[in-house]
Every structure is written in C-alpha cells, then in structure tokens.
Symmetry: C2
Subunit: 307 residues, 2 copies
C-alpha cells in the first residue's frame, strides 16, 4: 500500500544528458538496486536514434534485464513510431511519449510541430492496437514545456489543455504535465493541473518536475494537492537543462521521497537503501553532476521512528 508513486527517470532523463557512457552492467545494477529499495516504476532508457544518443545503444539489453525484476513497472521513452516499434518488441510495460506544447521546443527536440507530433502519437496508438493485448504496452503522453519554454517563453494554458485532450482522444492511457525547463511555480501548477483535470479527469496522472530554480519540491506539493499521485524524479537530480550549467535538473528522488515520507505519505521506498543506490551511481559515473540536499545533510534525528 502506497500513497504516492515515484517513477524514477534517472536511467533515461539523467543519462540522456550525461556524456560519459554508463556501462550496461552498471545500468542494470542501478535499476536492480533501486527496485530493491522499493521503487516500483523506472524509465530505464530511450528508444531514440543511437547515432543521436549513443548512451541508449544498449536499450534492448537494459529493458530485458529490467523485465526480470519482479513487480517492477518498466517504462521507456519513445519519440516516434519507429521508437515505439523497437520498444514494443522488447516487451516493455509502458511507453512515454513526449509532446512539447511550445512550437520552438518541439521543433528543436523532434523537428516536428506539436500538431505533427500529436499525429505521430495517433499513429503509435494505432500501431499498438494491432498488437495482441498481452504484448501491448501502455501508452503515456507527457506534455513537455507545459509551464513555459526557454525558446518561446510563456506557454498558453489553453494549448496545454487542448493538447491533453488531443492525447486522450488519440488513445493515451494516461497523461502527465512536465515542467521541462524548471519554469513552473506552485500557483501555476495548481491552476494548470486543475484546468487539465477538468477536461480529461483521471487520465491526468503524473507530474514531471524540474528543480532548475529550486521550486521542484514546492511544485510537487502543489501538484499533490490537486490529486496527482505519480511523480517523476531522478536519483541525484541527474539530467535537466544543458543550458543552465550548475543548475539542478530533475527533482531529486531522494529529496522527494524524504519530503513525502516526512509528510506521512507512504512511498514504499526505503530511504537508507535509496541513499546507498545514489552512492553506487555516483561511483559509477565519476564525471557526472549530482544534486540533492538530503544526501548532504542526512536524515533528521529520530526520522522514521515516529511513523
């Protein structure tokens, strides 16, 4: 029984921005260790062009390993139909498809407008419908730059709502809103999650938040208060925006788990074990940048004893 679900995206979102190739065995060890700490969903890789991102040249191998872990929901990012076909062949449980709300980000990321990318999403849903049910992964739509864009600036909330509806109509199993560049604030989070929920109801399940300007955890609480129960985060805050050096990227898994557990919400995750996994990943990636306050400051005296 848990109150919130942490979806670890480090092996995908974190490694996507890490120049150093993480050896396949180290990736597998990370995924195994984090699952053993109680994390029940991990986005383990991206099925993108391996020419574009060599980090994911071992994607199929990594998925095959993750699928051997009992009880773990194995997710992968797919930017297009080709990626979906490759991913589906591996037996992965869940496909995460990013759709940028802002045109500038969409063009720079996938060389398609948001409308073209929505059409691609529809083709993926249609392809998945041709698969036998037991070999059909769930298809999630993630609305990137939903809270603003480093290229286009502010994003119209009507566009977010419209594209969320478009994803559901095209066959999305669920939809999440992503603060890809760390522009969101708690008031905006509440407003937009409520506005999208009004249109697509419980199909809106997840929040993908970044801590670029330090507001990641405050935004998570705001999303939680609108009924969101699934939160993407990255061990050590790996990943994020390459345009803001030194700024942290994804919300830090350890800090997020600490916050929820401190608030009395059950994550199912053992924090001490999770901090050990962080240390394991830090050692496996000596060149990478890690963030997070709990790992530095330690847990409060008596933490967990009262629960």
């Amino acid at each position: 029984m848990t109150d919130v679900t942490i979806s670890e995206v480090g092996p995908r979102d974190g490694l996507q921005n890490t120049k150093q190739f993480m050896p396949t065995e180290a990736k597998k060890a990370w995924i195994s260790a984090e699952a053993a700490a109680g994390v029940t969903e991990i986005e383990v890789c991206s099925f993108v062009s391996t020419k574009l991102i060599p980090q994911f040249s071992d994607a199929a191998d990594v998925v095959a390993h993750a699928l051997t872990i009992p009880g773990l929901s194995v997710a992968a990012l797919i930017p297009n139909l080709k990626g979906a076909e490759r991913a589906a062949a591996t037996g992965v449980h869940k496909l995460s498809f990013p759709l940028s709300v802002s045109k500038g980000h969409s063009l720079s990321n996938v060389r398609k407008t948001p409308e073209e990318q929505l059409a691609e999403f529809k083709r993926i849903a249609e392809f998945l419908a041709t698969l036998p049910k037991d070999k059909r992964p769930a298809l999630s739509g993630g609305l990137s730059t939903a809270f603003g864009c480093t290229i286009d600036g502010p994003v119209d909330e009507k566009d977010v709502v419209r594209l969320a509806v478009g994803l559901v109509e095209a066959g999305a199993h669920d939809v999440s809103l992503a603060d890809t560049v760390g522009y969101a604030n708690p008031a905006q989070i509440k407003r937009l999650f409520i506005a999208v929920r009004r249109e697509i109801g419980d199909k809106l399940t997840g929040a993908h938040l970044h801590n670029t300007r330090g507001l990641g955890l405050a935004n998570a609480v705001a999303a939680l208060e609108t009924g969101i129960k699934t939160f993407d985060s990255s061990l050590g805050g790996m990943g994020g925006c390459p345009y803001a050096p030194g700024a942290s990227g994804n919300v830090v898994t350890e800090d997020l788990v600490f916050m929820f557990e401190a608030m009395g919400l059950r994550t199912g995750i053992d924090l001490e074990k999770l901090l050990a996994v962080r240390q394991q990943v830090v050692e496996a990636l000596p060149g990478a940048e890690f963030h997070g306050n709990v790992a530095r400051a330690g847990l409060p005296k008596g933490f967990g004893a009262a629960a």
Copy 2:
C-alpha cells in the same frame, strides 16, 4: 503595496556562521544595496558577547548606518537582557529574541532551559516598558527548533504552542516559528502554524525557514497558505547549520522572492537588483559558501513581462 514581506537576515544569521570578518563598510554597503532593491526589513546584527562572536563587534555602528536608510525597518537579534539594553540604546526598531523549544538546543545555545529563557524574555519586556514610547523597539519572539532539533530529535507540538502563548503573555509584539535545523515538512508546517494561530491569533506573523534538506520553499508555501505574510531569508542562503557541511542554511532570499513573484504575489523587491546585491556580497566574502538556484539558472524567458 506588497502581499508578503521578506525580512533579510543574512547580515545577522549569515554572518554569524561566517568565520571571515566582513568589514564594517562592506556590511553597510550590503544593507544599503538590499534596501535599494526594495527589501523593507533587515536584521542587521546580533547584540551578543563580542568575545563569543567577534563578527558583531561593530553592531552599534552597523545599526547607526541602517537607521539612516529611509523606510527601512532595522532589526537586531538579542539573546538576553544585556543585549536588549545595548540594542535599545542604538535606536534599533525591532528586537528578535530566540527561544529554543527543545531543551538540548536551548542549553547549548544560551545555557538556559526554555523556561529560564522565557523568564529572560519577560525581563526584557519589562525593561522595554520603562523606555519612552518613541525609543521603545518592538519585541519579537522567535521559537527556534519548533519543528525538531539535531540534539533532542522530534519536538512536542504542545511545547511550541505553550511557549508561543508564554511569549505573548510576557509581552511579545509578535511571534515567529523557526525551523532552525531544516527538519520541517509542509504538512507539519501547516499543522503547527494553524495550532499556534488558534491560541495567539494574529500575533503569529512570521516563518523562519531553512533549506537544509531542500524543503525550504515548499515549507514557505505551506506557511503562506496558513496566512503567514512575513518570511525570514538570507541572501545566497548564507548561514544555517554548521553540523551539515555543504548543506544550505537559511532559505535563499533570491529564490524565495522569485517564487512569490512568479506566483503573482508582490514582494516590492526588484529581482535583478537583488541578484546584483548577491554578487556584491559574494565578492566581499570570497571564503564564504553561497547557495541558490535562481542565481545559477537565471530568470525564465519573459519573466515579469506578463505581470
């Protein structure tokens, strides 16, 4: 017209933990620049034993300068009656008195139990009552370690409520709750601010939060939602807990101002100017540690234009 008040505590809380003596002229320049950026309240020093903390040997000189700045509310920390007498002689507007809720922290900080420190507070209030009204500073009580203690661990919420009532009965102009060691979480913040407000009403005005475990801004939003309008913070997150090296201390003024302004709340502070003040302080204190995400990541594209 502002919606929230930022009370800058860097010149006191930040410098208290900085080994390097900041030259008096640099302190004055900091206070002037931050007031010019729109900050309306600054805790400029501490009237403690200068043998104990040589950093504040120039306290009277710093206060005298701060009092020349039009519109600035000048505050100083006082740990005892002797400090209050010295501070009152300078004409400072506001005295902040720390009262640790946990016995362990109180004994290690001021060598008195919480009850003995409450009695000291009463003596200070009585002394202030003997001063002519126009020379009488406002007396604020700050409940330290209200959310937990690095020495005693968890703190009983009943003790926080009881001591808040004690402060008001002893003559406190207002009371704030402090998460001195960064143990608080948003659920606890809401619960405790509501519980204390139930007993002392609008005498409860302020939140003094730390970002040790990354929850500072999330806790600020939680306090805001209970009606709190005055927030202590420190430029560059200076200060905080010497027992957690590398962990940030006080909530970072720049990040807090950014969050409130992004949420549509008026702080009266010019963020660009504030970031320039930060740079000025960084240059004046080459050995000190600074934190903060907004200074590294920059402001969002188009920020402020929509307001």
